[in-house]
Symmetry: none
Subunit: 200 residues, 4 copies
DNA sequence: GATGAATGAGAGTTCATTCAT
DNA sequence: TATGAATGAACTCTCATTCAT
């Protein structure tokens, strides 16, 4: 018997709730200290139900890492590498990135874990790594564009991109308990310097 | 009857071995996936012996995090904030830091974990945080010195220091599997830019 | 979906079985030499199931000590302190007590342990002590009644009650391996003497 | 090389100290919760030394139970079953017993344990049981003597003796935390009633 | 004789996962 | 689909005992 629309809807909602709670808990307490029972409780379902929506704990973790990527990736990639005014574009991009990074703390802690234990979480890491490469490549393009237009110092664009993503992730690690966006904003100019923006 | 010197020596050695193995495993597999039994095996002792040298697993972890700090801290702080040629001093400092960060990968992964779960590892985090503050403060001094001598752009020295340590830790996270020091060296100029070093 | 009635019934039964086996083993071998694994085996369940019914070993022990009290207490208190014929009532009471004490050997050994280590088993002891006080008080009333009616020697009723419960528990300790009720019956007259029953 | 007298003396002393501490701890915390390490610490010796004086933990426990018996037994048996004035003798005996029982609380808790787990502590129990039989027999003789002289009610002397020792041990269990000898003294008359002493 | 490092059997407990209801 | 009882692998930690010094 096919499920009614409202049923399907309800199930989607439930899955979503579980995933959200799982993300928060995985991020806060790590993989091992997050138990299925706790996630279930926080989600208002029986722990048996978690297995209805996710094959096992590993899959739940994988989903918690990879699915938000679908949401964040487009936002992070939302800039134009061929912009006419690359410095301006860069500034806007950095401001946006910083805003995003300052706000999705929990998820990024998850990301840091996956990177830290990339052997343990090989599949999830592969996804993140793939995005990271795409991300860096696109940033690199914009940097190159900026250099070609004489707005940025000449330096290896790929390294600059890596330096930049490192800076972002490092900020997230260091400012672990500071969701205060105003403080985060202070770091935009530093990112610009990293890119070799000419200081007039 | 007191223990003989050689006895004491042997014990020190054994403790050291256990701690080293523990550090490696904690860094590689995290706190939970590192079992006392595995550490013992890797160290060539019975698991009971681990408890001879460390009260419990938590203490072992704490020691693995805090003791190396005694070794690394002086090296990281080995620069002169009042140097006559601040830019030169800064460059040397960065080069040294990058070299150190590129080489003690395992330990830094441990550090990232502690920061990531600072609630879980509160005591260890407190130690790291204290060092981080000292570290940033001293870097900030050198930056200020550089600004006063007109060698660096004027910007908030504290933020610059934070940006720098974030950059370092972010590099360590991103370049998780690259001990290749030559690649790391490429990032020295970027750090200099972060500090607002004037590009002639 | 709630559990079916038969399910609930089965669980109650299982809990009961575990508790019974635990009581027997705690009584026979003491707290430490009674392992969860042994209790589980004796109860025909996996050791994990013991934790489904009891939070931990301490709780299991507590339940083994306290729950039977609900059963035995009413039986031990089943006499009338204001009886018209106090000596007769006393005799019946003693006979009943002796019968009960002779039969629930295992449980009483548990009780003796709790008293012996009342620091270790503080909560369980508190429960037993509370009952003991109630028990002695009610016996004291009957004794007083008997004295007032001139059937018993005048003596401190509270001490008499304590002497009596001591006698009972002492018999249980001494006759550790004698469930033989006939032998136990022999002690009824001694208890009566303790109460100062006048020997005509 | 033979040991000097003073050395022998010192060792005897050390053994004594260990045994005393062991008795106290076994009595207070039971066999399992009393560790060799704790006993050693309380005795001011290394735990290795405990094994110099006692083969193993079981032997230590055995010694703690049996050796004091050599001290207490003569005191408990110090009465004349053929006394000319049996009631008087009985009174004196009871008074002495009560005094002794009120004072050596820790040791008696040990005794209760051994009786409670006589399977576990079979050898120690055998010693205690043997003494108990001797003890009861001698008391029985005095009771019989009293009956023959018409001072005591006629009743089975052996049961009377058992009732009496039960009463004593029961008091010890019930008054676990009352070393207050004055309260203990109150129970002498009750013991006399147990023996069927004629109340004038 | 005295010491305490080394060992490992064995205990309690957690928790992912299965599966009957 | 939802539930939670049942299971047992795996982990940390304790402690009696051995034995080299």
């Amino acid at each position: 018997m096919a499920l009614s629309d409202s049923q399907v809807q309800k199930m989607k909602q439930k899955r979503e709730t579980i995933l959200e709670q799982a993300t928060l808990m995985f991020a806060e307490h790590g993989y091992n200290d997050t138990t299925i029972a706790k996630v279930a409780k926080a989600s208002g379902v029986s722990f048996g139900s978690v297995f209805t929506y996710f094959e096992n704990k590993d899959q739940l973790f994988f989903a918690a890492v990879v699915e938000p990527l679908q949401v964040y990736a487009p936002k992070l990639l939302d800039f134009d590498p061929n912009a006419r005014q690359p410095t301006q574009e860069l500034w806007n991009m950095v401001a946006k990135h910083i805003k995003i990074f300052s706000s999705f703390g929990p998820y990024l802690r998850l990301v840091v874990q996956v990177i830290g234990y990339h052997n343990r979480f090989a599949e999830a890491f592969a996804e993140l790594d793939a995005f990271h490469n795409t991300f860096r490549a696109k940033i690199g393009e914009l940097v190159k564009n900026g250099q070609e237009r004489g707005e940025l110092q000449i330096q290896d664009a790929k390294y600059a991109a890596t330096a930049y993503t490192s800076f972002l992730i490092g900020l997230r690690v260091n400012l672990i308990d500071s969701p205060d966006s105003q403080m985060w904003e202070q770091f935009v100019p530093f990112a610009m310097q990293l890119f070799g923006a000419k200081t007039d």
